[in-house]
């Protein structure tokens, strides 16, 4: 893999200023993890005082999905997951001793709960309401009251009315006629269901705020709802409808007291849900889709697709905006209780992870690959550990040095003039000659001006003269006469003494062909002899290119050349229609011989 070959470069990264605040604990370029920040968790799942790293790996994206648990630097266990994992959280679901947190993995329309790394429970999201007519149609089909074609008609009618149908009906409608009845017999006996999909998963403490208090699960679904689940009975405590598909959640507070859930949605709106209130208007609307959402203190920090990190107050006032050097891939909160540090970690496309406290960039970590998953927290027995996964699938674990301090402001941004103010202007230099010429002009400007004007008039006169002459004599290769829309071009091939003249003729009109034309050449007969002095031109179809050729022999061996003129004439007239002037090259026969 590429990572191995880049080991040497990695030394360069270690010397990087920002990286010095961190100790490298582990680096596994071959971990082949396909995961996101949402699918990474740190928790003491064995209740032995040592935090494990739990990663839901999406495998190849279609199979091989696994729930991986790392203890220290080694892989402790692997559990297969049936469908793609959407999110992973750990939470305390009961008060039994020893206090062992459970792992919840959201996947499809299910939440799988693991305890002690054993499958413990599967929660299925409730089916969405199904249209009555659709349901009755399927019941009738089941009881063989209607045949498949009638069923199909009913369903098709419902769909065209804009009714949202179940997957089964939609599939049914897309089937070719001969497969319809097999499909119905296969499915008619199972209950009709309309399932939704979990899009995000978070936890919310139930009634106490201690670290090991019981937590509820908060999840968002594809069908515009947020559910809060009771951790013991796994019943739905609250369902809140929201206007758009939720993608990122940030949860604060206690369920039994008061809580606030900030939701970023696929349409770029951010909503705020409170206990017992309905959601109508977004708190604020982003200019681009969100890539991450975190609540830091009272502020909401959002990373956006347009390379910006934005901060809003809970009321929706924009507080600040920072532009990033590249696309943002992920964002995670960073809280170090001992140091009293709260900030955000932002993984960006250019292989850097930025640490922001408020709007100040306090640290930049360089990595060998773009970081797509970040988690900061206690790992093993170390409180401030940073876990990162990269696009290429490697796993990096870094620990914050105890001596590390993040300065309030960094040197690169904010205050002070930018470095470029100190640079010298790149003013073009002028030579001594330029100065001399300036002096000369200063002394002789009147003469120079008059001479120039004089010459200018002469050149204009000369140009006008030549132009008039060429018009008179039809010396131009493109006809100016609208009656004869013709174009001529001539090429010379060969190095001499024999040359080949290639004349191309084109009728440029749309639909008036030319007839009765011939080509002839005018040349100095003491210098050249032309094989065909007269070429009759056939009927010229508009638009086509006609090619005529003639050999020319240069009779002189003195290395001189002349021009040959090609005339296109009409039999009835003595002036040519158009003329091609060929500057013959010098015959190279002398050199050859």
């Amino acid at each position: 893999m590429a990572e191995i070959t880049s080991r040497e470069e990695s030394k360069g990264y270690q010397d990087y200023e920002g990286n010095k605040k961190w100790l490298n604990a582990h680096y596994d370029p071959l971990a082949s993890l396909y995961t996101f920040s949402q699918c990474i968790a740190l928790s003491d799942i064995n209740a032995d005082g040592e935090n494990k790293l739990i990663i839901a790996d999406l495998g190849t994206g279609t199979y091989d999905m696994k729930l991986k648990v790392y203890r220290g630097t080694s892989l402790m266990s692997e559990n297969a997951i049936i469908d793609l994992p959407t999110g992973v959280v750990t939470f305390y679901m009961d008060l039994t001793e020893p206090r062992t947190p459970a792992i919840a993995v959201a996947s499809g329309s299910f939440i799988y709960i693991y305890k002690n790394l054993r499958p413990y429970f599967k929660f299925t999201l409730p089916s969405l309401p199904i249209d009555e007519k659709e349901e009755s149609a399927w019941i009738q089909a089941k009881d063989d009251l209607i045949d498949v074609s009638v069923l199909r008609e009913i369903l098709d009618g419902l769909r065209s009315k804009g009714v949202i149908l179940t997957v089964r009906s939609m599939k049914f409608l897309r089937l070719p006629p001969h497969e319809l009845s097999t499909f119905v017999t296969l499915h008619k006996n199972s209950p009709l269901k309309m399932q939704t999909v979990v899009t995000c998963l978070e936890t919310l403490k139930k009634s106490h705020s201690e670290d090991d208090a019981i937590s509820c699960l908060v999840l968002g679904t594809e069908h515009l709802a947020i559910y809060i689940l009771d951790p013991e009975a796994f019943t739905i405590l609250t369902k809140i409808d929201i206007p758009a598909v939720p993608v990122f959640l940030s949860v604060n507070g206690l369920y039994d007291v008061d809580y606030r859930i900030v939701v970023a949605c696929r349409n770029g709106a951010v909503y705020s849900l409170k206990r017992g209130s309905e959601v109508k208007k977004p708190v604020f609307q982003l200019s681009a889709q969100p890539v991450g959402l975190q609540r830091i203190g009272k502020n909401i920090v959002v990373a956006c697709m347009d390379q910006t990190l934005q901060c809003y107050s809970t009321k929706g006032n924009k507080l600040w905006l920072i532009r990033m050097p590249a696309d943002i891939l992920t964002m995670e909160a960073m809280e170090d209780k001992q140091k009293g540090f709260k900030g955000v970690l932002v993984g960006i496309e250019n292989h850097e992870v930025h640490v922001y406290r408020d709007k100040y960039l306090v640290n930049v970590i360089k990595t060998e690959d773009a970081v797509t998953g970040i988690k900061f927290g206690k790992f093993g027995r170390e409180d401030s550990t940073l876990v990162m996964t990269t696009k290429g699938g490697s796993l990096l674990i870094k620990m914050l040095k105890r001596t590390a301090k993040f300065e309030e402001k960094d040197a690169t941004t904010s205050s002070g003039p930018p470095a470029s103010q100190q640079q010298k202007l790149n003013v073009p230099k002028k030579t001594k000659l330029f100065v001399d010429q300036t002096l000369r002009e200063r002394n002789n400007c009147v003469v120079m001006h008059q001479q120039f004007q004089h010459d200018l008039y002469r050149i204009r006169l000369e140009a006008a003269r030549n132009y008039a002459e060429s018009l008179n004599k039809s010396l131009n290769p493109i006809s100016t006469n609208p009656q004869e829309p013709l174009k001529l071009s001539v090429h010379v091939n060969g190095i001499g003494p024999m040359f080949k003249l290639i004349v191309q003729l084109q009728n440029t009109s749309l639909n008036s062909p030319s007839v009765g034309l011939f080509l002839t050449f005018h040349f100095d007969s003491s210098l050249y002899s032309v094989e065909k002095t007269l070429i009759p031109v056939p009927f010229l179809v508009p638009g086509l290119n006609y090619t005529f050729e003639s050999y020319v022999e240069c009779k002189s061996d003195k290395g001189i050349s002349d021009t040959i003129k090609a005339y296109l004439c009409r039999r009835s007239s003595s002036t040519p229609i158009i003329t091609g002037i060929i500057n013959m090259p010098v015959s190279e026969s002398i050199i050859v011989s």
């Binding site: 994206g61 469908d83 499958p119 413990y120 429970f121 296969l186 697709m305 003013v427």
Partner: protein
């Protein structure tokens, strides 16, 4: 809903059902079409488009082309890749699959907008508004479409409506743009000031406000806003150019230059920037550097008459009349009805002993710019010099009338001195040669209407300090000086008197 452990052996297979037909009881679960929407979305927001496309293809195959979101993201990607027509078709498919989603219609309209089919876009937006009538975005976009169709009244209406739903910088900026197109600067200023209240750190608003205040001549406010915008973004080129040109007007060339250094790092090929740098050097009397910079500016923007004007002016100062003539006549070709250019050209021509053409040039200059004191005065001096005493007297009378009609405090003392001396010469006739002292180059009056060419490239006009006089032929000198002076007032560019010694390189 609460079965026992997960990971059951039963096939909740992700792929198509592979059940043997003889066991119809256990029908396979049909996965939801939206099963992987979240994954597509996650990859999309990271711009991992290749991965997205694979996923979309798979999901569309799985859902037999019924997955709205897959189409939606595919269309978004297509649009970002520039195939707007294809994106339009895909969004239309989305709208067919789910006609109740205003978002699909909004995207269709957006594509139409990008394809410059504004009318069609407005129609689709109206459709979308039926589904969601309090959407700021729809109203805003309808306004923008109307703006491009030059339908300003309707545009303003719907933008204002959009603002009642939600205050947003963008709507304010567009509204201000429309007022500017209608040349209603005051209204535009009001709108932008409102915008500033909701978004006090918006650099674009600050910069635009600064430039507008500059245009209406409120230098103080202008400088304040530009300064603010530079505190938020110290390398904002627009603001740097505008504030730099103001510093140049106050002859603060070194500060202006240090700001320009930042700009030149960011936009090394901006003609306006190099023009201003050139004029800074001119103000500092580094003429060779000035010419270098102006020539570079002219290379970047060969058809920009202001740069040519400045080049002409610098060459006049350098007594390179033949070159000055070329630059000025080139400028006149681009800007044929601008008095000060002819006025400068007249000075160049009179120094090239082309009296007939010089007279013509003066006449043109006066025709297009009859209120220019310098042109009138120079004309009088020139006529006197070529022995047309009667013409000189008339021209001088006109100049005096003009002077009297102007605010005396705005005319510099040098000009008034020249009036005095030249008036005396006219009356005494021949004796002028001896009696007249070499006139200093005069300080021009403060420019009254600095003309800024475009918002991005404000060119400075800076007054220059008087240079030391050289004294052989007083009258002709005056002429040049005045001349130069006047041009300066005019636009952008510089004016300046001439100068004897060769400048340092």
């Amino acid at each position: 809903m609460s079965e026992k452990p997960p990971i059951p052996a039963e096939a909740k297979s992700t792929g198509p059902p592979a059940m043997p037909p003889n066991r119809p009881r256990k029908a396979p679960e049909l996965p939801a079409f939206e099963r992987r929407n979240w994954l597509i979305h996650l990859h999309y927001i990271r711009r991992e488009y290749d991965r997205c496309k694979i996923l979309i293809k798979e999901q569309l195959a799985e859902s037999s082309d019924m997955c709205e979101y897959a189409y939606y993201v595919q269309a978004l990607i297509k649009r970002q890749e520039g195939s707007i027509q294809e994106a339009l078709e895909l969004f239309q498919t989305c709208a067919l699959l789910n006609s109740g989603n205003a978002n699909n219609l909004k995207q269709v309209a957006r594509c139409l907008f990008l394809l410059a089919r504004h009318k069609a876009a407005i129609d689709v937006y109206h459709e979308a508004a039926k589904l969601n009538d309090s959407d700021w975005e729809i109203l805003h976009n309808i306004g923008v479409c109307h703006m491009y169709m030059q339908n300003f009244t309707k545009a303003k209406e719907s933008l204002e409506q959009a603002l009642t739903i939600r205050k947003n910088d963008l709507s304010y900026i567009m509204l201000a743009k429309i007022y500017l197109m209608e040349k209603n600067v005051d209204k535009a200023l009001d709108v932008l000031n409102d915008a500033l209240k909701i978004s006090p750190e918006n650099i674009e608003i600050l910069t635009t406000l600064g430039l507008l205040y500059l245009r209406v001549g409120d230098y103080h406010k202008s400088f304040e806003h530009l300064g603010n915008s530079m505190t938020f973004d110290s390398s904002n080129v627009k603001a740097i150019l505008a504030s730099g040109s103001m510093m140049q007007q106050h002859q603060d060339f070194d500060v202006a230059l240090s700001k320009y250094r930042i700009a030149s790092d960011k936009h090394p090929e901006s003609p306006a920037l190099w023009n201003n740098i050139g004029m800074c050097f001119f103000g500092k009397k580094k003429f060779v550097a000035a010419i270098s910079c102006l020539k570079r500016a002219s290379y970047f923007a060969p058809f920009e008459w202001k740069i040519l004007h400045n080049l002409g002016l610098v060459h006049l100062t350098m007594e390179q009349y033949a070159s000055a003539f070329h630059f000025l006549s080139a400028a006149i070709n681009f800007k044929p009805k601008y008095g000060p250019l002819f006025s400068l050209l007249a000075v160049a021509l009179s120094n090239l002993n082309d009296n007939d053409n010089a007279i013509e040039a003066y006449k043109q200059a006066i025709k297009y710019d009859s209120n220019n004191l310098f042109t009138q005065l120079n004309y009088a001096i020139f006529l006197y010099k070529i022995d047309d005493k009667r013409g000189a007297a008339n021209a001088f009378k006109a100049a005096e009338a003009l002077r009297d009609s102007m605010d005396a405090s705005k005319i510099s003392r040098d000009v008034l001195d020249t009036f005095k001396t030249f008036g005396a010469i006219l009356q005494t006739g021949q004796s002028y040669k001896k009696s007249e002292p070499p006139v200093q180059n005069q300080e021009p009056a403060r420019p009254q209407h600095p003309i800024r060419q475009t918002i991005q490239s404000p060119a400075p006009d800076l007054p220059t300090p008087p240079s030391h006089p050289v004294g052989e032929q007083p009258p002709s000198y005056d002429m040049v000086m005045k001349q130069s002076v006047l041009d300066s007032r005019k636009d952008v560019m510089e004016k300046r008197g001439r100068q004897g010694a060769l400048p340092p390189i």
